[in-house]
Amino acid sequence: MNMRVKGERAFKVVGTRPPRPDGVDKVIGRALYGADVSAPGMLTGHILRSPHAHAEIVSIDTSAAEALPGVKAVITSGDFGVPEDSALRDVQDHCMARGKVLYDGHAVAAVAATSPAVAKAALKLIKVEYRKLPHVTDVDEAMKPDAPVVQSGLVHETVAPGFSENVTSYCEFGHGDLEAGFAKADRIIERSFTTAATHQGYIEPHACLASMNADGKADLWCCTQGHYHVRAVCSAILGMEASQLKVTASEIGGGFGGKTTVFIEPVALALSRKSGRPVKMVMSRDEVFRATGPTVATSTDVKIGMTKDGRITAAEARLRYSGGAFPCGTVEMGAQAAFAPYDLDAVRTYGWNVLTNRPKEASYRAPGAPQAIYAVESVVDELCLELGLDPLDVRVKNAAQKGTLSSYGPTFDDIGLMATLEAAKAHPHWSAPLGPNQGRGFSAGFWFNFGGNTCVTLNINTDGTVSVTEGNPDIGGSRASISQMAAEELGVPYEKVRTVIGDTTSIGHSDITDGSRVTFAVGLATIKAARDAIQKMCSRVAQIWGIDEEAVVWEDGYVKPASPNAGDFKPMSIEEIAAISFQTGGPIAGHHEVNAEGAGVSFGVHIADVEVDPETGATKVLRYTVFQDAGKAVHPDYVEGQMQGGAAQGIGWALNEEYIYGEDGRLQNPGFLDYRVPVASDLPRIEPVILEIPNPGHPYGVRGVGETSIVPPLAALSNAVSRALGVRMTRLPMSPPTILKAVSAAGV
């Protein structure tokens, strides 16, 4: 078999904008999300949560709750074992407190009852005796040697002595001679920044339906970014074999990283096991905010030296991240990403992870990067202002390119930063005039992107249509792009392909839908699976024609003789081949199972215009443009959607979103009323500009696009506001009181 490879690939389906296959289901309300299914005899599960930020659980008395008519099961941490694996133990302890509650909202017990009203009444009958402990929710406070210790015994060997036990890990990255670099600088700026913890804010609360039988077999339906991961974690927590737990991913109502772990799923399974009935659990919005996985809260110092003509001579950042009451590695991601857009001779980042009495951090779009790059891009902007330099020119002058030794170690391959910078420079937005009280901010952004474990089965149906089965929940249109890549490779129309997401028993393990990996990795596996099927179809036709396999080619959905020398045969279509598949050896399918590597890194740059009301501190975003390298945009609509959606989330983060803890360590704003995500009237049009610098690691050049877009808005907005006011902003969110306070402190 020969694959005809052309120089510059001319795509037929990839790059077009067909309707998504799940579109109709979703606009008529028929698509089934986590909370949308029921089972006969189903019970309702509810969780009792800690009102304290930090307390020892002295005792739990569930007897009155158990005695309430309609209550079928009550569980506490005693109904689970204690996993040896520390990561698993953390996940389980986050789902159900063991010995101590570590944050406001931490689960302490759960009930399954015949109705929500009975379940709620039962929760009130559970008597928990707490012994309150001192708490700490601020990252800098938690590092001090005398801070209340959230958890003991978790400190890695990397941490130097002198800190609180809350400091669990330390990391350092970079290269070059900092001292010599700073000595060459004409101007050095050093500043400290903080960012509040934010939440992914997906509109669909976590929901699941668990059903375990007396024989130990169980079914779990849930909204998740990765049902294989759910299976692995839940089966381990419940002491089951993975084969006995079938997990089906529902349609998912947003995740952004927040649905990459479990919160209620092991609890629902345990309640089902104990009650012998199916148990449905749906989190309230209050529970979502208090007890799922927000981002880290951060405190950062950045020091950068620059020459008069805008060359960065040395750069340094100290990052202190808190991912809540359990260890997390997010600071490592921030420390690696901080200076990624720059080509630097001397750079160093240092990172500390810190425990606080907050819920365990979960991923949120490019986890760790937005906070670090916010601080770095703010200082670069301030240097540009002080030295009278154009901020875009300075980025160009220092931009990382192919061959640049990155700040985190490897040398960059083909990357799209320069292309995005050039596109931004040429865009009318960059040179548009500004009015009074208005400012324009600029920031670069970066994310690593991942590949990972992926299975795809591609069946050629007997009528010549194509069924693709993959294992990654479709969080933003991926079924369409996977179908497009299958159609492209097979040379058949998009409409002939249907992509479905299999449950854990219908196809092998696939990693979580995270790290911007799906279009890259599932796409790659789909292309390879299509090639596998093509190879089989070519082989069968060659046999029919009685010629060598090498003498046929696959082209546009047909097997054809490779050349006139091969013989004079009428090309056979995929439909014709499929129709006789039973006679030629049986059903035809292509498979590919891979740990996909070689995901290309992604850069983007954003321009933001704002107007600040100097009397109230209100910020209005006037104009916003996103430039991002997509490698190859498979379905440009959904690439644009990722760019716009990430930008909107970043704008929310920059202006209003934050976890607010009171003196008592309790979360003050666990609802959409006071956790202020952007509403439609808050935002302008967000113009997306897609750049396509092919990723050499993918057959079509695809790069992940999901995460980079949330990185630049923080600094783009902060730089815009700072320029509008003439005052440097150093904390997020820039809520109106924060802005007015900064203005009055600066005496402007």
């Binding site: 060997e157 990283g257 170690g409 992107n449 790290g515 590597e597 995901a599 290309g600």
Partner: protein
């Protein structure tokens, strides 16, 4: 061949940021490092990624490394 490690691991490698190991693939890189520098073991067990000529590999024991490859050890990467 040479393997670059990140800064905070230098505590366990007598201050060296670039290590020499005999390896033909990712797995051999890790085994070689752990053998020569036992202090790196806890981190390797917690998880590491490998950048090979600029591309990041999260696992893949058999990813081939050549004597002229640029090999950089990185923390295990997670995304959203």
């Amino acid at each position: 061949m040479k393997v670059k490690i990140w800064g905070s691991l230098r505590r366990f490698t007598d201050g060296r940021g670039e290590l020499e190991v005999e390896a033909k693939n990712f797995k051999q890189v890790l085994d070689g490092l752990a053998e020569q520098y036992p202090g790196l073991k806890p981190q390797i067990e917690r998880g590491v990624s490998l950048a090979l000529d600029g591309r990041i590999y999260r696992e893949s024991w058999f990813a081939e490394v050549r004597p002229d490859s640029e090999v950089v050890l990185m923390p295990y990467m997670t995304g959203g």
